[in-house]
């Protein structure tokens, strides 16, 4: 294997113009498979969710899942696509043990949705329109485990083991038209597109679209053409790029690799490539089979799908506000910058903050805790924000306790920590840990007197007009009250006792 010497990204872009095509597979969140009633529940024992249909037994007959079709139409509509009046499934024939039928039921020249677009917003606010070629229905494949090789990879394996629980789970494949004109921002556009599509899929409620769980997978097709020319170059297809960051890295790497091959007089081979998370590189996979090698033909066991215009309009009426539009509305409501909103989105905090505000919190407070203490905690435990053991309502309760003065920020942090540790809801944690702010003026007064007596020199300075020195005394009081006093009130009391105007 030859190692390609990459050219720098800047040099690549100085000579070439990238053209991309993105294919995204989304696993739908239906209860059952696309063509049979087997459960799609994750984590089941191997081969415990199969039946004669998804095992491809002779005589079995598939019947399409109504929610699968409905989800496909919703996705199509949200992508501003036309919805086919009549379309069929097709058999994509290939021999590979991940499909027991020896074909995948897919759609070929009659996709259910076609000709749409998705507007994506880049980090600086620029909106880029990505044209959609089609969205079609198909089914997922089984899961292979390769045994006997050095690294669990297919190469060098002595045999493979198949679990068909995943075979037949509904997939929607969404294919863009060639993305041209993105120039040096192509990798960024690719990432923003996948991110926006993920938000859209979640907003539609058709899938959780968790990339880390394989519920959404992206293939990055990329080619270069010399600047100023029209004709597309030969493309490579980088398969299964399964995080947003990887989508951007894969596009960037392929731009540099193609440029290196082309500028040294070589030619790009049309092939599939594997992406490597560790160093962001791609390596050669198989040389692409010609489309006709799949010998597509209409699926004789399934009847055509002909969504009535009434049904399509009914579904159109149920579409939620588009995520980008919603984000811009929220951004204005919350009064945050584009950049901050992007961070909130990246952290997966938009819906959590919305829910916290709905539970009574002020926007600024909800944002502060989710993006601060809770984001830190999630980061440390390697969890997503919505996997933390705390609900938006509980966060809202903590903000309410802060607002009424029962907790200060330091105590609020301890309270959140307690909730996350499973000690109960915020009020219970406050009770058990004794986190109430000391508002008993008598106890506070005593602590203040003690601090003044113990720091006579500082007290004199303050009396003499150096009000800034009060911080040291406040600190002393906070220490004796173990952080449970309201710092602003403590400062007031000290200044009052020393006879100084604040």
């Amino acid at each position: 294997m030859t190692v390609t010497e990459l050219v720098s990204y800047e040099d690549a872009l100085a000579s070439y113009d990238p053209v991309m095509g993105l294919e995204v597979h989304v696993e739908l969140g239906t209860k059952t498979k696309m063509f049979c009633g087997c459960s799609t529940e994750l984590g089941a024992e191997p081969n415990s969710q199969t039946c004669p249909t998804c095992l491809g037994m002779p005589g079995s007959l598939p019947v399409v899942n109504a929610v699968g079709v409905e989800s496909a139409i919703k996705i199509g509509l949200a992508l501003h696509c036309e919805i086919a009046e009549w379309c069929r499934f097709a058999r994509k024939n290939y021999f590979y043990p991940d499909m027991p039928k020896n074909f995948q039921t897919s759609q070929y020249d009659e996709p259910i949705a076609f000709n749409g677009y998705l507007d994506v917003q880049l980090e600086d606010g620029e909106v880029f329109r990505v044209e959609i070629e089609r969205a079609h229905m198909e089914e997922d494949t089984g899961k292979s485990t390769h045994v006997g090789g050095a690294t669990g990879r297919i190469h060098g394996a002595s045999h493979s083991l198949l679990d068909y629980n995943r075979a037949g789970i509904p997939l929607i494949e969404i294919v863009t038209k060639p993305i041209v004109g993105a120039g040096e921002r192509a990798p960024e556009v690719a990432k923003a597109y996948v991110a926006e599509l993920r938000e859209l899929i979640r907003a539609l409620g058709v899938s959780e679209a968790r990339m880390e769980m394989g519920q959404m997978r992206c293939d990055v097709n990329l080619s270069l053409r010399p600047n100023g020319t029209e004709k597309f170059g030969t493309r490579s297809e980088t398969k299964n790029v399964n995080s947003l960051r990887s989508v951007e890295r894969a596009a960037r790497y392929e731009i540099q690799r193609h440029a290196a091959v082309l500028s040294s007089g070589g030619t790009i081979v049309q092939e599939t490539r594997h992406f490597h998370e560790d160093d962001g590189s791609t390596t050669s996979g198989r040389v692409k089979e010609e489309a006709e090698d799949y010998r597509y033909f209409p699926e004789p066991d399934l009847v055509p799908v002909a969504p009535s215009r009434e049904w399509v309009e009914e579904l159109r009426a149920t579409l939620p506000e588009l995520p980008r539009v919603r984000r811009n509305r929220l951004r204005e409501d919350w009064g945050v910058s584009e950049h901050d909103m992007q961070s909130i989105l990246n952290a997966g905090a938009v819906d959590l903050i919305v829910a916290t505000i709905e539970a009574g919190a002020e926007a600024a407070a909800a944002r502060k805790w989710w993006m601060g203490e809770l984001a830190r905690s999630a980061n440390e435990s390697g969890k997503a924000l919505d996997e933390l053991a705390i609900t938006p309502a509980q966060v809202a309760r903590v903000t309410a306790l802060v607002k009424e003065g029962s907790l200060n920020d330091k105590l609020a942090r301890l309270c959140l920590e307690g909730v996350l540790a499973g000690e109960g809801d915020p009020d219970t944690v406050v009770e058990k840990r004794g986190l109430k702010v000391v508002s008993d003026e008598g106890a506070l007064g005593a602590a203040v007197d003690e601090a003044i007596a113990g720091n006579a020199a500082i007290a004199d300075k303050i009396r003499g007009g150096k009000v800034a020195a009060v911080g040291a005394l406040v600190g002393a009081v906070m220490k004796t009250t173990r952080g449970q006093a309201d710092a602003a009130r403590v400062k007031e009391l000290i200044l009052q006792k020393l006879g100084v105007e604040g």
């Binding site: 081969n47 899942n65 390769h146 493979s160 083991l161 699926e299």
Partner: protein, 98 residues
């Protein structure tokens, strides 16, 4: 006009994972040619007003509610497997050493 060449038969055989000898390729190319010729005659009678048929019944939109139905047990599913390991279907090596 030949409907199918010997090379095309060899290609299809490879896609179908069928190992055919030279004389078999000849033999099947001839037979398939006859079959394709016979089917092609249908196109001659079918005019613009006859839509292609993929299904004999005039049905559309036969759909199933998204309700779970019992699956086979893993034992039943694996019952006919030529080989199994760890409750999975065991298949021979897919790719050789590259």
């Amino acid at each position: 006009m030949p409907g199918i060449t010997r090379e095309e038969v060899a290609h299809l055989a490879r896609l179908a994972r069928l190992e055919l000898k030279d004389e078999e390729l000849e033999h099947f190319a001839g037979q398939l040619d006859d079959i394709i010729g016979a089917v092609a005659r249908v196109s001659e009678v079918a005019d613009q007003d006859v839509p292609p048929t993929s299904h004999p019944l005039p049905l559309t939109n036969v759909m199933r509610a998204d309700e779970v139905r019992p699956s086979l047990t893993p034992e039943q599913a694996l019952n006919g497997a030529p080989a199994q390991e760890q409750q999975r279907f065991k298949v021979p090596q897919i790719l050789g050493e590259d």
